[in-house]
């Protein structure tokens, strides 16, 4: 039961990801795109965790942790670039 | 380089220990090699990067009563987060979207940096409001509707935070 639910959620998360990427494509200002990409990062982390097979989820947890921290630093860099005009 | 150890030895050791615990948790093995490696690396990290962490004289100390109050605060924050999400879901899925967004400026009555940061984060997580800007004592909040703006003024979490700040030792 849980297995089929997880399969459904994987496709559902990909669908949500497409919706968010539409916003990052048409977003009028730069900050709109940053918001959309930041939301997409969380969705990708959830997708990584839900794509893990039951037995090997330990490996995928490390990937998710590093992804969260790396995205945080990357967004900070982009915002600093927007605010001050240089890095 | 070593002046931070002399200035605040307890805080230094505590933060090094926190880093060591983090390292042991993500490496997930507890033999002596990992512990030795973690101790050396967390000590070196704290030695080189203490300038970033200790930005003011002294440090922040927690009393047990304050920790308990913080726990109560976090639980009531969790309830508020659920309410906020239901509210956003109602607004977004409503066919006509009954919103009238606006900016409100407030005077913020908190002194310590840590409680300020915690309070601003919880404003972001509660129904219909996000913090936009906070300089010294001036707080700019963005609201969905006028009712949210009124609700910020008499807000139970603010009084909890005032009590939490008042009950601890000063810096």
């Amino acid at each position: 039961m849980i297995e089929s639910l997880l399969t459904f959620l994987r496709y559902g998360l990909v669908f949500i990801l497409i919706l968010v990427l539409i916003r990052s494509f048409i977003g009028p200002s730069a900050a709109d795109r940053v918001v959309a990409i930041n939301y997409a990062v969380s969705l990708i982390v959830m997708l990584v965790l839900l794509s893990a097979p039951y037995a090997e989820i330990n490996l995928y947890l490390d990937v998710a942790l590093v992804f969260v921290l790396g995205a945080f630093v990357a967004t900070l860099g982009v915002l600093r670039l927007l605010e001050e005009g240089k890095l | 380089m070593f002046r931070h150890i002399k200035k605040d030895p307890v805080g230094f050791v505590f933060l090094s220990f926190l880093l060591l615990v983090f390292w042991l948790l993500i490496s997930a093995s507890f033999d002596w090699q990992h512990i030795l490696m973690g101790t050396v690396i967390s000590f070196l990290l704290m030695t080189f990067w203490a300038d970033v962490i200790f930005i003011r004289e002294g440090g922040t100390r927690f009393t047990p009563g304050q920790a308990l109050r913080l726990l109560v605060y976090l639980v009531s924050l969790g309830i508020e987060v659920v309410k906020a999400n239901v509210y956003v879901a109602y607004l977004v899925l409503h066919p006509r979207m009954p919103i009238s967004p606006g900016f409100v400026t407030y005077r913020l009555g908190l002194e310590k940096d840590l409680s300020k940061a915690l309070f601003l984060n919880s404003i972001t997580l509660t129904p219909g409001t996000i913090t936009v800007e906070c300089e010294e004592d001036r707080l700019v909040v963005h609201c969905f509707t006028r009712e949210n703006a009124e609700a910020v003024q008499h807000w139970p979490l603010y009084h909890q935070m005032k009590k939490l700040e008042g009950s601890g030792k000063s810096d």
Binding site: S42, L49, V68 | L25, M97, T124
Partner: protein, 111 residues
């Protein structure tokens, strides 16, 4: 059996809130209101899905890692929202047509 129900319910509710956030990001009129959708729905949706994963993981250290990821998302998200809002406010990005401004700072006392 009971555990399965808890897992399924929190996965579905987490998915629902993530969906609301994405729909809000497309429907809401300006950047600040979109940020409402991001900051809140992301925190609770990701939190609920991580809560479900907490029941799936095999051993203790993996559970601690899941809690760590949850804590990181819950603290990083409001900070990110605040920073993006500050950047957009300083750059004077376009706001929704009917936006109002109110100043309670100059008045005496708080609020």
């Amino acid at each position: 059996m009971f555990t399965d129900i808890v897992i399924a319910l929190s996965l579905l509710w987490g998915f629902f809130f993530l969906m609301v956030g994405a729909v809000g990001m497309l429907r809401l009129p300006d950047i600040f209101t979109r940020m409402h959708a991001m900051g809140k729905c992301d925190t609770l949706g990701a939190g609920l899905i991580l809560f479900a994963i907490l029941f799936i993981v095999p051993d203790f250290t993996s559970g601690v890692k899941v809690v760590l990821i949850g804590g990181l998302i819950a603290t990083i998200n409001p900070v990110m929202t605040h920073l993006i809002a500050k950047t957009a406010y300083d750059r004077k990005d376009a706001v929704a047509p009917a936006t109002w401004y109110e100043d309670n700072y100059s008045r005496k006392g708080r609020g």
